[in-house]
């Protein structure tokens, strides 16, 4: 591994970056903090999965509650904060002027994180809603919506006040994610929490929200980063750019329709599950176009940023194919209600989203602090632990889920023996989650060291020679 620059020039560290330093670092710092908390909770949750008696006597740590807490801190703590930080910065850069109204971000971040802390306390004491991805207790939900609005203000202003009429794919995905999430979030809040729908409609709304939150919010946030970084780092335009718009609109129009895929064979109208299967297949168009557009990412040229983005992209494409396959009834009969869904969720969240965002953070932090990453060995350690941990976690969960599906199909196998069959794989998955957690903790420390170094740097950071801006591995 050597330290060699890819595309960072002195001119790149502009006023746009410097002005946004504090709010964006605050967002990224809290995001990483939540990522570590979420990782620790997920680890506890996995331990409980293979050793159910662990901490079970403690009411705040039942399996259901640790799962809800790990999920909530991951999605709202890590994914939302990191995704917003990267998206705001990219919108500012592509908009061509410094981000405005950044005080809103500061205020929003405080209330957003306050909301997550409240939610954790609420879930631990039994106020979870029991809807996947929306476990936030009812008294926290409106606060989160308002805080989100505040954080998004500079992004909206950067979009409306952009200097150029022509827009880029990264901007489409960014604006879609910024605008669609509040609509989705508020609709789900009303229909699930404040004026709950009746009967199984709750499950349908919840499925629509989960799939919408992924395809209209988190996936676009990650794609914003990917569509910005790949051409930027490589210094080459996106290939087959003429198809990009088709890929974008396919995701937007078809994405949320895939929500019924978890309810195949369930007590819902059959057309919902059928439409979901068709939508999953149609969505392959989107994945093919993304692969076509961003295949350059796989020629990393030794750039750490591109390595992370390539891994994230690989996970995203694989996840899309797996979604389509498991939405087929003949496959769903074996994979439904098993840990295969957990493996798919981890592939999307810990794989596609998180790895892409790591790439973006490695690109962004040196530019807003004006300081290169402090340690190449920390960076390397994080890369390999993220890669190895995620692969182990996803593969082990999928294997466990496959065995679980086989066992469930045979009515003679008792639940005690299913648990015994799954145990070896769950131990492996726990090890994978532990490796991920260690890696993420290293990234948090690394960020702290880099920010401290930036504060103590004597010379104005903007005059630092370009080649040291980005640590790259080869």
């Amino acid at each position: 591994m050597t330290t060699a620059s890819t595309a960072a020039t002195t001119a790149e560290v502009t006023e746009i970056d410097a002005s946004a330093r504090c709010p964006l670092l605050l967002l990224i710092g809290t995001a990483l903090l939540w990522l570590v908390v979420s990782g620790a909770l997920a680890l506890l949750n996995l331990v409980q999965l293979h050793t159910p008696a662990y901490a079970a006597a403690c009411s705040v740590m039942t399996y259901g509650r640790t799962q809800a807490m790990a999920e909530t801190t991951f999605i709202y703590g890590w994914a939302a904060s990191a995704g917003l930080a990267v998206t705001l910065w990219i919108l500012g850069r592509l908009g061509g002027s410094p981000l405005r109204s950044l005080n809103w971000v500061g205020a929003g971040v405080i209330f957003w994180n306050l909301g997550i802390v409240l939610a954790l306390v609420g879930i631990a004491t039994g106020d979870a809603t029991s809807h996947a991805w929306l476990q936030l207790p009812r008294y926290v939900q409106p606060l989160m919506l308002v805080a989100y609005g505040a954080i998004a203000v500079p992004g909206v202003l950067a979009w409306t006040g952009r200097r150029q009429e022509t827009t880029y794919a990264a901007q489409w995905y960014a604006v879609a994610a910024l605008f669609l999430f509040p609509w989705l979030f508020s609709a789900a809040q009303v229909l699930l929490t404040f004026v709950p729908t009746r009967g199984v409609l709750q499950a349908l709304v919840a499925g629509w929200y989960v799939q919408g939150a992924w395809t209209l919010w988190l996936a676009p946030l990650a794609l914003t980063a990917a569509y910005y970084l790949v051409p930027k780092v490589q210094g080459r335009p996106v290939s087959h750019y003429e198809y990009t718009a088709l890929g974008f609109w396919t995701l937007l129009f078809v994405g949320a329709w895939t929500g019924g895929r978890h309810l195949i064979g369930g007590p819902i109208p059959a057309w919902v599950a059928t439409v979901a299967a068709v939508a999953c297949a149609l969505l392959l168009i989107h994945y093919i176009i993304v692969a076509l557009n961003l295949r350059g990412a796989f020629h990393t040229g030794g750039s750490t940023v591109l390595r992370f983005v390539a891994l994230g992209l690989g996970a995203y494409l694989l996840g899309g194919v797996l979604d389509a396959v498991t939405a087929i009834r003949g496959v769903a009969v074996a994979t439904q209600f098993t840990l295969v869904s957990a493996a798919q969720t981890q592939l999307a969240l810990s794989g596609a989203f998180t790895l892409t965002l790591f790439g973006a953070i490695y690109f962004l932090v040196p530019r807003i602090t004006g300081q290169p990453w402090a340690s190449l060995s920390l960076l390397r350690a994080h890369f390999y632990s993220a890669l190895i941990g995620t692969v182990i976690l996803v593969v082990a969960l999928a294997a466990a889920g496959f065995i679980q599906g086989q066992d469930l199909a045979n009515p003679d196998v008792t639940f005690a023996s299913i648990a015994a069959h799954l145990r070896p794989w769950l131990l492996v998955a726990t090890a994978g989650q532990a490796v991920i957690l260690i890696g993420n903790f290293l990234l948090l420390i690394h960020l702290g060291r880099t920010v401290c170094a930036a504060r103590h740097a004597a010379a104005p950071a903007t005059f630092r020679p370009a080649p040291t801006m980005e640590a790259s591995a080869s």
């Binding site: 999965l49 159910p52 008696a53 079970a56 006597a57 403690c58 039942t62 399996y63 259901g64 809800a68 039994g126 979870a128 029991s130 409306t160 827009t167 489409w172 604006v175 879609a176 605008f179 669609l180 609509w183 609709a187 709950p196 729908t197 009746r198 009967g199 199984v200 409609l201 709750q202 499950a203 499925g207 629509w208 919408g212 209209l216 718009a245 609109w249 937007l252 994405g255 949320a256 329709w257 019924g260 978890h262 064979g265 369930g266 007590p267 109208p269 919902v272 009834r329 439904q336 209600f337 098993t338 869904s341 679980q404 469930l408 199909a409 009515p411 008792t414 639940f415 005690a416 648990a419």
Partner: protein, 209 residues
């Protein structure tokens, strides 16, 4: 994509379409679903949950039971649900119309509970309560739903038959009693008109969809 307004409208339409299709569409189909009145039996199904069971559903929700248990039976030719004794017919939307919070669940770490009330374990409330305290077949015990207290005067009639320190007894809290009542109330065996045709079709046509 030069026109910001068209772009913004596109975003709105994309979300509105899926909302209209999935949420409003299924609401139009199922929103008016009412309990089915059986004239022979003189009552409507599904029956309303007794008050204690309704409180038990809140315990089920807040402890997070749905993380490991589903409450949806798939039709006899789709998976082993019937063979495992979870239900003779598939769950239908009407089964859930009187539930305040529907707990379909997404993972079967433990058995499906949609018709738990009709099983032998549920009928034996003492054994069920003891399993909730001690754990059973991989399910951990939920001891925080129980109270260990000194025996004052006579031993409580509710005291569990489990080891306890000398002079003490383990009794279920109100939450444990509510949870047991809820689990006993889970029983969707009534055959609605829409639930009937599924099984004969499955018998005549093996593996049919």
């Amino acid at each position: 994509m030069k026109n910001g307004l068209t772009f913004f409208l596109g975003l709105f339409v994309a979300l509105a379409l899926s909302f209209t299709g999935i949420v409003l569409g299924s609401h139009a189909q199922l929103g008016g679903l009412a309990p089915y009145y059986d004239e022979n039996e003189g009552k409507a199904f599904p029956e309303r949950m007794p008050g204690l069971a309704a409180r038990g559903q809140l315990v089920y929700q807040d402890v997070g039971c749905a993380a490991c248990h589903t409450q949806q039976v798939r039709r006899p030719d789709f998976g082993s649900d019937k063979a495992r004794g979870w239900g003779d017919r598939q769950s239908v939307a009407r089964d859930y119309v009187s539930q305040a919070s529907v707990q379909l669940g997404e993972n079967r770490i433990g058995p499906d509970l949609a018709n738990f009330g009709s099983r032998a374990l549920a009928v034996d409330a003492d054994r069920l309560t003891k399993y909730l305290y001690e754990g059973h077949e991989g399910m951990p015990g939920f001891r925080f739903l129980f109270e260990t207290r000194k025996v004052v005067g006579e031993r409580s009639a509710k005291a569990l038959d489990v080891p306890a320190p000398a002079g003490s007894e383990v009794v279920p809290t109100h939450r444990a009693e509510a949870l047991v009542a809820y689990l006993q109330s889970l029983n969707n065996v009534y055959e609605y008109p829409e639930a009937r045709p599924v099984e004969p079709a499955a018998e005549t046509k093996e593996g049919g969809k």
